[in-house]
Symmetry: C2
Subunit: 729 residues, 2 copies
């Protein structure tokens, strides 16, 4: 029976007042579901048109009247005051100086103030509480007996008066005097009662809703705003738990874990706890604690949804903190689906890889807002935007991941009315939806071929942050770039932590381990590399035949005379200036190697880690920049290691990575089966369907030669710009 | 009486067999002195021609026959064996693997082996002596009970069989089977008797010698050679004491200082103790100990020279370790003169600044060798060299320093015969000698004007390493580049250490302090910045009106959330990747400022320190590169701070530095008196002589406007390429 590619698995954002457009596009795009969005409503005419209905719900900002009457039940954060140098023994610090005062108000409650800390940041010592006092009226702290010319800061608790997503949308879209929503703290029993009561009412009031689309649960990603236009975003991290603490949370933590956290565990010298930096063990405990709370209270919410005969989906953005779709308790919440907004391939994999839900849905870009996330005039009439092209480009970036991993649904979000003047955008989405349904059908019949290289990505976070490098794909971060390359390769990928290796050793079924990032980062591993057992086990594993790929500053932990803990395996290390008097082994770049066979020239990694020196004559350099190796290979025992001085995602570099994986796995021939000669194209072999999918990632027509499953026979394929070919074999 | 610029204060290298050339050039260049060189001799015809005679003497390699018979009296070094990863519990390490075996032989003596150490470099722990054994015949150490996959090294003592300057000259000039000279260890009483007896004989045998030119005293700068052409120089540092240790030295040190050093104090994880890295306090003690020994035994040698009616000069290169011309005991040795080979301006200042000797002499470049220090074919017939141009360029580079500080003599070294085919070289030297005598005469009449900015250069080393950045001017090191800029500026300069400030505070008469270098370096200060007192005092000093100039990573000491200890003063700090989630204050580059007024564009610092972020809105950015401030200024209290992201010596950047000094000193008008509008020119006002000297540092004609001493009146001056004008006022 021929497949119907014109209908199904598509979520359309409806908009009251534009009923005709909504229903027309629902038909054109083959939608089976209509949703509302932040700022839009659905009218009865839409709701009763026979579609499934998703209704977005952000519980913690849904009880704003109550929140206004209970300012002590708002969510809180530990903030660090702007550092002040003491010019005299008494110094007064304005706590909120520099912060956006519409977002924060200091929690002056005595119980909260017990958690405050004042630090002499010059010595690093805490200032005894008897040496400082608080002026609640002025919002200041005065330190007495300050050491002159030392730098002081105050860690304090602040309520967040304006929920950040609401604040961002409000300010971006000039919502004027529309009310400011605040997020309540779900850990208070009273708040929980209010929220559950609200949810019950809400469920009763939405009989036509089939899916409650939680956006998301309780705690936003971290976002501290500044009051100075020159420093609007003081801190923003997609994975930090900085929006969760409260005296109640800290007390409960101390009870459960047997030790007390401090404000400094959150403030961390003003760095806070960015996902990019290797976490402290205390932070890991706290994250586990919050994850447990979110799982428990989340479950109670989801149970109500189910009891109302509806499904519960969760949005893998915004208030996702504590939800942790790759965390151990996620499945306990009982969600039916997860929705991920997606710009690119690793986000597809991030969504597809989540276990414990039935439905994995992607919300495509562009979001239907007048301006894009970077302020570009996407849908502004006469603004010079090209939303159709944007949509195609986002789709092409994501599609590399979609041919490797199955996704169940796609959709859009925002103001549908904005697309009315853009018929080419309407056409583009129709085409994308058809292509999606085709790929889904192939996955449904059976998984695509993967090359025989099982790859482990080794970070401080491990599985908890699979396919995550703190939010969306921001170019320039090696780890981000590397997982984007990886997301489109025909290899099995899993994520593991240094602690996993310390505890359980290297998983037996891995062929290659990748460690990528700068020194101190969570991606490279930071202080977790201090564990000698990890070094022993990884070294032994490579010596016995494993493959290790190090990118940028792999396994970096500064020791006198050495930076990379895996230096003997890599056959190289990094000099950060301390080896100026030491000679550097000269080398000749090898002109021909399996790994670089398809590179026309030395790879462009954007910014390269410099100062790489070779440990001995066994390390072979395949590319260099400014005299420092950029790609090098080293045999170690029966295993092999590859080093890259950086990474940017590009067709050439993704291919370089795949070949490096094959070489590190000591299986150069395994690479050939179902490979595509043109690096701007990818192919996937769906054996169960006997279909060969070839995609063109380029904006121009391409020709490629596919090597078939015997590793020898070939097939030439022509593809139009951004095209896809599905060939029966 | 008109000055005779044609004669005097010039040392010519004579060469037996080329008597006519020697005497002709002695006349042409106005020499008053003839010297021998390493590899050349003087004949009686030269010696008795009526010139003063310098005779080079390197005592420690002068008793080679005795040295060959007493291999246990050779100098020694602690070496670290090449790291080995233990694949099994028993691992054998070839101690000299990778080292040049013509330079080293392992000291297998039981007394020496007591100082050896074996390290597990994976854990950092020392391996107990009971777990390793030495095979003296094979030159190996075998470790038992090694942890599998850990990395091991052995610190061991090796004799140095071939003195390094002799070795370098021998190999560079293909001296074939000429004997290999070895350096004896002067700390042995027996060696001292032999050396003093030799010196007595030598003095008696050189009745015509007027100056004994010591090259230098006892210990060479550090130079470990490798056996692999890809790693010929394993370690070379102009200021490290790695050529001095021996069981005797270590025992005497323990007696004098009350604690024992270890081999690891020297090996330092394989980094050794490069002058570029902030020294340990134990190393500083040891350097003081060796300096004391060199001063004492050196004095005994110099006394013999004086008793023979001769003068003793010391060469400020080669075997200078322990001599420390800026050290506290240097004057005690009793030298009459110091000779410094000179490539550039800071080396002129380095020589001129030495106290406790009457005569300061420069040995100009090029050295009369067929090939230059970098292997260029300077004097090779038909080799394409241009020694006349080289000589002029070196002279121009040095002259910037010579107009600021007085030097007593100049000269050349090497094989005079090589210059015979180069008449233009002969002309060039004649002209340089005249120019030198002119400048000397002006200094003799009275010091040149200096602007009212007294500058302190703050490093870990302080005065001990004044004008020194580990040997010659190697481009690319910010500190080297910065002191080269400074060496030609009309300002008083002194060098001070962080410990000086901790002990004595900031000197009252300083206007500006410069701190320049990368984190961890001796130049930036490294671990010495951990002293809070230093930070307090410097901060207070700036607040009260001082000027602070930070270059690259000034005051860097990593703390959570901060890198620069002086960040509040500089108004900025550096993010090395850990602040990825923190916003960076945006800024606008100020188009006009006193500091950048003469820069046509953003300065070129070669390699810039990136990731600089502003602490507040008070910091003004004057130049930026790739979004990171390159030049920034910040007022702090009554004082001012300037930041450069790097430095390369260029006419523009030297001017930028001078203007920054003036601005930091809060004295912009003080800068104008006796300044030259054209950055490629410099001027010096010799008030006592009422002479204005204007020099052109460029290889093309230049015009400039000099602002005279009232800060208003001006004078236009035309200069030919590399020219000099001396104007009466």
């Amino acid at each position: 029976m021929p497949l119907d590619l014109s209908h199904g698995d598509f979520t359309l954002p409806g908009e009251a007042g534009f009923e005709q457009l909504t229903l027309r596009l629902a038909r054109k795009w083959g939608a089976d579901t209509i949703r509302d969005s932040d700022g839009t409503r659905l009218s009865p005419e839409i709701i009763q048109a026979g579609y499934n209905i998703y209704s977005t719900l952000c519980l913690v900002r849904s009880v704003n009247d109550w929140a206004l009457r209970h300012p002590d039940k708002l969510q809180q954060s530990f903030l660090m005051s702007r550092p002040i140098v003491a010019g005299r023994p008494t110094v007064t610090i304005d706590l909120l100086a520099g912060f956006f005062r519409e977002q924060f108000s200091v929690n002056m409650d005595a119980n909260a103030r017990r958690w405050w800390q004042v630090f002499d940041r010059t010595t690093g010592a805490e200032v005894p509480a008897r040496h400082w006092t608080v002026d609640p009226r002025r919002g200041t702290v005065t330190i007495r007996k300050a050491e002159r010319w030392h730098r002081y800061t105050v860690n304090f608790l602040a309520y967040r008066k304006w929920e950040e997503i609401s604040m961002y949308n409000h300010i971006t879209n000039n919502w004027g005097d529309r009310e400011h929503l605040a997020a309540v703290d779900p850990m208070h029993p009273e708040t929980q009662r209010v929220l559950l009561a609200f949810l019950r009412r809400w469920l009763a009031g939405h009989p036509d809703t089939s899916v409650v689309r939680f956006t998301s649960m309780f705690y936003n990603f971290s976002w501290f705003w500044g009051d100075d236009p020159a420093l609007r975003f003081i801190y923003s991290d997609w994975g930090d738990y900085a929006m969760t603490p409260s005296p109640r949370a800290l007390s409960r933590f101390a009870q459960e874990y047997g030790y007390k956290l401090t404000s400094e565990d959150f403030v961390n010298g003003g760095l806070y706890n960015s996902t990019h930096n290797a976490p402290s063990r205390r932070l890991c405990d706290y994250m586990e604690f919050i994850h447990g709370f979110v799982a428990e209270f989340g479950r109670r919410c989801v149970d109500l949804v189910h009891a109302a005969g509806k499904k519960a989906y969760v949005f893998y953005d915004d208030h996702w903190i504590g939800v942790e779709p790759y965390g151990p308790r996620f499945k306990d919440i009982g969600f039916d689906g997860i929705i991920k907004c997606v710009f690119n391939a690793f986000e597809v994999r991030k969504c597809a890889g989540v276990k414990g839900v039935r439905t994995h849905e992607l919300r495509l870009h562009p979001y239907l807002f007048p301006t894009g996330l970077k302020g570009e005039p996407t849908f502004q009439p006469g603004g010079g935007g090209n939303p159709a092209l944007d949509a195609r480009n986002f789709w092409i970036d994501a599609r590399r991941g979609l041919i490797r991993a199955p996704i169940d649904r796609i959709g859009l979000g925002g103001y549908l009315s904005l697309v009315e003047p853009w018929p080419d955008f309407q056409e583009a989405i129709e085409g994308i939806a058809r292509e999606f349904r085709l790929l889904k059908s192939l996955h449904a019949a059976g998984a695509p071929y993967v090359a025989p290289f099982r790859v482990g990505v080794l970070t401080a976070w491990g599985q908890l942050r699979s396919w995550i490098a703190s939010g969306h794909f921001h170019r320039g971060l090696e780890y981000n770039e590397m997982i984007e390359s990886l997301a489109g390769l025909p290899v099995d990928v899993r994520f593991l932590s240094l602690d996993d290796i310390a505890t359980d050793g290297v998983p037996r079924d891995l062929d290659v381990i990748i460690n990528c990032g700068r020194e101190g980062s969570a991606w490279s591993g930071g202080h977790f590399w201090a564990n000698d057992t990890v070094v022993e086990r990884l070294t032994a594993w490579v010596a016995r035949g494993g493959g290790f790929i190090g990118v940028a500053e792999p396994s970096a932990l500064p020791r006198t005379g050495s930076l990379f803990r895996m230096a003997p395996v890599l056959g190289l290390d990094r000099d950060r200036g301390e080896r100026l008097a030491l000679g550097r082994r000269t080398f000749v770049v090898e002109p021909e190697h399996f790994i670089t066979a398809e590179l026309p020239e030395a790879p462009n990694f954007g910014k390269d880690i410099d100062g790489i020196y070779l440990l001995d004559g066994e390390t072979r350099v395949l590319a260099a920049r400014d005299g420092s190796p950029a790609v090098a290979v080293h045999a170690f025992g029966k295993g092999r290691a590859v080093y890259f001085s950086g990474h940017t995602f590009s067709p050439e570099n993704a291919r370089l990575l795949l070949r490096s994986i094959a070489w590190a796995a000591s299986d150069e021939t395994g690479y050939r089966r179902w490979s595509s000669s043109n690096v701007r194209t990818d192919c996937a072999w769906f054996a169960a369907s006997r279909k060969l999918v070839v995609i063109n990632n380029a904006g121009s027509a391409q020709e490629t030669t596919i090597t078939l499953g015997d590793g020898r026979a070939t097939l030439r394929v022509q593809l139009e710009a951004h095209g896809i070919a599905v060939l029966d074999r």
